[in-house]
């Protein structure tokens, strides 16, 4: 029954940097298990929107309501910092574009994956290590690298490690900020494949920001197109990309190189 209610209800959300808007009048619902792509060129406010949704940036106007695991619906801006942190530990994940921002580069891979578990009260070394090893396997990192630091990993491995670290506590909602840019094309493809299968398997809701329409097409159900801080078009990803309505979206779609 609760699955018939949206996980995130966003109404006229906006964030201001000083007296300039980073994004404004954004409204959408996000449902459990849904992958929402936010596309647009750089400077269009995608990352600001992601920051605002995830409470890293303050909400200047509008409302963001989130349904907690126990069914209670809360206004995110009204939550105390302690409760937001608890959400971060137990229900949310954030995958950064640069893996170094989301990992502790001088802590071993096992420690990186284990940290969220320890933060949520796991106190049994053997179990933490077994769980970390299990997740390394799931993101295709050889288990014998468990005691190596991410500083010694390749870019693709770091990004997969970051994903493992975020998913290990079984979050309900994951924010991803350009998770595949900066990786070469074959690595990108494998990472997208991995994200897609994990999302389907775990029934995650995902908000993914990307400037790459191919990424949006591959993994998202719905797409928001942003320009100058506003959402100019939204709908099912296939519809938006195959039959773009707004002039800017048409430009964006036609600017993809055709093979």
């Amino acid at each position: 029954m609760s699955d018939e209610m949206p996980l995130l209800e966003v109404r006229d959300a906006g964030h201001k940097y000083g007296d300039r808007y980073g994004c404004r009048e954004v409204s959408f619902n996000l449902w459990p298990g849904e992958v929402l792509a936010v596309v647009g060129e750089s400077g269009s406010g995608k990352s600001t929107l992601l920051g605002t949704l995830s409470q890293r940036l303050s909400l200047t106007e509008g409302s963001i309501r989130y349904r907690l695991a126990d069914g209670e619906v809360v206004e995110l801006a009204e939550l105390s910092e302690a409760r937001v942190r608890r959400l971060w530990r137990s229900e949310w994940g954030f995958v950064h574009q640069n893996a170094a921002d989301g990992l502790r580069m001088h802590v071993s891979a096992g420690g990186n994956v284990g940290e969220p578990l320890m933060a949520t009260g796991w106190r049994h070394y053997g179990k933490i290590r077994a769980e970390a090893a299990e997740w390394l396997k799931r993101v295709e990192i050889p288990v014998d690298r468990i005691d190596d630091t991410p500083a010694s990993f390749s870019g693709g491995m770091r990004q997969r490690l970051q994903i493992a670290r975020n998913l290990v506590v079984s979050p309900r909602l994951v924010f991803m900020d350009e998770p595949t840019s900066g990786l070469d094309v074959s690595v990108q493809a494998r990472l997208l494949d991995l994200i897609r299968s994990l999302v389907a398997e775990l029934g995650l809701a995902v908000v993914i920001v990307t400037h790459d329409l191919a990424v949006a097409r591959l993994i998202s159900h719905r797409t928001l197109v942003m320009k100058d801080g506003r959402v100019i078009e939204s709908g099912l990803t296939d519809r938006v990309l195959d039959d773009p309505q707004a002039a800017y979206t048409q430009l964006l779609v036609s600017s993809i190189l055709q093979g």
Partner: protein, 308 residues
């Protein structure tokens, strides 16, 4: 301004001025009220370099009076340069009595060790703390670590213990071993060996920590719970030593490794010099009294024979 020959320029008692002492005492009161919480204070210049125990010296200066008896130890020893100098300093500027005996001291300033002799009510330990923040090397941002303390968000500290076990097979942290004080604040018991951690738990003495360079004061009041962290399958274990002290024969004490030659020879002796001396003295006293009782007559006979 003239001072007579041989008379020192006049210092305020305890070297620091009264306003400063008042400021430090306020910080101390707050620290005692919130066990384990790091209270900022306006650290002053004292006549020694930062990192040599300026925090401890300021705390001692703020609490010491003419009725107090001060003991200062560096590692466990009363006779090292720093310990001797600080003792002399307070004898001069605070008129305090000094001692090397743990049981006679009312204030004990220390760099590393908690004495082997059990502390009693009314005694105050003062620690010289280099880095007060237990999360420093895991999270370098002070703004962030303060938040983590405020929100009791301590998952990160276990990462350090996890890394130890992953690397060495056991928790290899043997000093500055993190503790939770009074079920709330995560605290670095300064660079004391983990061997001494259990002595903090429900200790009858007051423990004050001063970090001069970092400008923080924190405290463990008497009879407070101090729990060393660990995992369920790798609980906290204080260091153990397999051999007794080579000088006094004590077991269950913290030993220093002393290199005796350039061929790899070492001996292990008590790091607590006061404890070691008193154990040796007690043993020789016992031996003497045994000699007095049992062997006195024999010895007298022998002496007579020699004279004859």
């Amino acid at each position: 301004m003239s001072t007579g020959a041989g008379i020192l320029p006049s210092y305020n008692i305890g070297y620091l001025d009264e306003q400063t002492k008042r400021m430090i005492r306020r910080a101390l009161l707050k620290a005692v009220a919130i066990p384990g919480f790091q209270v900022p204070f306006a650290s002053r210049e004292v006549p020694m370099p930062r990192g040599w125990g300026t925090g401890g010296v300021q705390v001692t200066a703020a609490i010491i009076g003419e009725d107090d008896t001060l003991k200062v130890i560096d590692q466990g020893a009363d006779d090292t340069t720093n310990a001797v100098s600080i003792r002399a300093f307070f004898a001069k500027v605070a008129g305090a009595k000094t001692t090397t005996r743990t049981d006679e001291a009312t204030v004990i300033q220390t760099r590393h060790r908690i004495p082997e002799t059990e502390l009693t009510e009314g005694q105050t330990m003062v620690y010289q703390v280099p880095i007060p923040e237990p999360l420093r090397f895991l999270e370098p941002r002070e703004t962030e670590t303060r938040r983590m303390h405020a929100l009791e968000d301590y998952g990160l500290i276990y990462v350090k213990l996890y890394e130890d076990i992953a690397k060495y097979g056991h928790i290899a942290t043997t000093y500055a071993y993190p503790v939770i004080v009074n079920g709330r604040y995560l605290m670095d018991p300064s660079p004391t060996p983990s061997f001494d951690n259990p002595k903090l738990h429900q200790s009858p003495a007051l423990h004050l920590y001063g970090a001069g360079r970092e400008k923080r004061i924190y405290a463990v009041p008497p009879y407070t719970d101090v729990v060393s962290l660990g995992f369920e399958d790798h609980p906290f274990e204080p260091q153990k030593f397999s051999q007794p002290c080579a000088v006094c024969g004590s077991t269950g004490v913290y030993l220093d490794e002393i290199i005796t030659d350039d061929a790899g020879g070492v001996m292990y002796a008590c790091s607590d010099t006061d404890h070691c001396e008193r154990t040796v003295a007690a043993a020789s006293a016992r031996r003497e009294s045994e000699i007095d009782n049992d062997e006195l007559s024999d010895e007298l006979d022998e002496i007579e024979e020699v004279h004859v």
